[in-house]
Amino acid sequence: MSAAGGLISLLVGTALLRLVVTGTYGRYVRVGMGPWLAIAGVAVIVLGLVTLVREARRGERGAPEGSGEPRAGAPVAPLDGHDHGGGNRMGWLLLAPIAALLLVAPPTLGSFGVDRGTQVNVRAGGAVLAPLRPGPKPIAMTLLEYGQRAFDHDGASFNGAAVQLTGFVAGTDPGGFRLARYQIACCAADAAPVVLRVVGVRSVPARDQWVRITGSFHPGDGEIPELAASNVVEIRAPEDPYE
């Protein structure tokens, strides 16, 4: 399958580069991995192109496939001939994620995993944070920072400041809804959600809807950090959907 192999490599590399160029890769891996994906994509494209060119030349010359001479004592299978171990037939499977990516591009992780995974324990750090200085604009922060501040001396460090959080709706809750955002270390397979409760809203957005919330700290039951919302704006999923 040598020529087909070259073509598969070409497709793999193109899919990787496309992920980087469109920024879609942020749905699947840490944003910092972009350059590495680009390098890998280029390398695989070069590999595929060289293979295709060599195959085409070989075809023109009419040389038999796998011109390598078997070495004495070691039976050597021709590279592009039949691999009876089932080895290279596996290469076809690389088309599966490419098909998924080129055609539907799976979405960012949603609320499905929130109740099933282990949530980030925001208390674990026991961090003591510098007090915020309330200004005319709400202060944007991560859900993790919000949770840590909420548990640091019962939210004393908020100092009454208005904050702005971005996340998705992970279900309704008495008096409001749950706001969540995943933390990832490497890729979506290791994602762990930070979950807050948003109270004081008139209507609850649809599940999995991304929202930007302006509000202020609200002392809750001490189990899960609470936010009293003053404004909820529905937005599209951010390019870097993870914290």
Partner: protein, 355 residues
């Protein structure tokens, strides 16, 4: 962990681009086939690639419909994430492996490396520290070392230790457990110990004939650069295909088995150790990320979390698939359980001693 609030991308704006890309690809395919019709039989493989691409394009509405189901969308995202995340590491491993095939003369490795397992295995395990990356890259490299005549037990020790003890992973571990350097030290010690013991056990009792598949790996003759390209191409497709099997398995297990069932066994000594080792096998996450996940499993003891970090880079569903592809299925069926048991014992002992 950065956060950007500007620059949103519309979720489904790229539909037109996709169709264009698809038609370009299949056009290329047709051209290629016609060019060759006179000189040799049509490469059926190319026709199949084209067919798959066209069929997938036709089924697009159906796929979109499927993704409306949260469980399937979750599966697809995790599946693609594992595959994408692994690609740079796999490419690195494949290129290094091909460079060994192209530039290291046959017969050099057996002469240059120590022959006695008692010396070769610990040296190889320690040498794993020199390969920065995660587990996907070390499998093709170890396979190539075996093919080039290195002592199998030493190559296997390298295979196990490289993803666990390289500086990138150890740094990540130190960052994930701030103020607790003992965790990083325990990870280093337990991983080195496990890979050395497994290597030695393999040297004394192992059946190297199970590695025939790796030994018989084809090597094309010719100029080094040609060998580099054809070997890299071959290894990429082979390892890549098995990686996809592993990614699909891990995504399925992550979607089907809720992680919250773990809470039932948290804290209960040996059971917790087994539970987290099982989680590591099932999750198949990158060794550069597992320390952060381990840090978040606060309901478990440090020793149980150490087992998670020692087992993860050595035994998981993605790795078992890769090892089966590189060394053969019968090898993987023996090697993975052996490694798992040794890793559990080492984690328990080192955890008791250092944590």
């Amino acid at each position: 962990m950065s956060r950007r609030t500007d620059g949103y991308i519309p979720v489904r704006s790229d539909s037109r681009e996709v169709n264009e890309a698809t038609s370009v690809d299949s056009g290329e395919v047709r051209g290629e086939r016609e060019d060759r019709r006179d000189t040799r039989p049509v490469d059926a493989g190319i026709a199949i690639v084209a067919l798959v691409v066209v069929a997938a394009a036709a089924l697009r509405p159906l796929l979109n419909h499927l993704l409306d189901r949260p469980a399937i969308a979750h599966w697809a995202t995790v599946f693609v994430a594992i595959a994408v995340q692994a690609m740079p590491f796999l490419v690195l491993g494949v290129v290094i492996s091909a460079a060994v095939a192209a530039f290291v003369p046959a017969g050099f490795l057996p002469r240059a490396l120590p022959r006695r397992p008692a010396l070769a295995v610990p040296v190889a395990a320690a040498a794993g520290a020199a390969l920065p990356g995660c587990e996907c890259g070390s499998v093709p490299i170890a396979g190539r070392l075996v093919a080039r005549g290195a002592l199998p037990a030493a190559a296997l020790a390298f295979l196990l230790s490289a993803p666990a003890i390289n500086p990138v992973v150890l740094t990540a571990t130190a960052v994930a457990f701030p103020g607790r350097p003992a965790v990083m030290v325990a990870r280093l010690v337990a991983s080195l110990l496990t890979s050395t013991i497994v290597g030695l056990v393999w040297a004394w009792t192992g059946r190297d004939e199970l590695l025939e598949r790796a030994r018989r790996r084809p090597v094309e003759q010719g100029p080094p650069l040609a060998v580099l390209v054809s070997t890299a191409q071959h290894d990429l497709l082979q390892a890549g295909g098995f990686l996809i099997v592993g990614a699909a398995t891990a995504a399925t297990l992550q979607t089907v088995v809720p992680r919250s069932i773990l809470d039932a066994v948290a804290g209960a000594g040996p059971l917790a150790l087994l539970a987290l080792a099982g989680l590591a096998v099932v999750m198949a996450i990158c060794s550069e990320a597992d320390a952060f996940v381990a840090a978040s499993l606060t309901q478990f003891s440090l020793t149980a979390r150490l087992a998670f970090m020692v087992v993860g880079p050595m035994v998981d569903v993605k790795l078992i698939a890769l090892q089966a592809g590189t060394f053969g299925r019968r090898f993987a069926l023996r090697f993975a359980p052996l490694t798992l048991v040794v890793a559990l014992v080492c984690s328990a002992v080192v955890g008791r001693w250092l944590l």
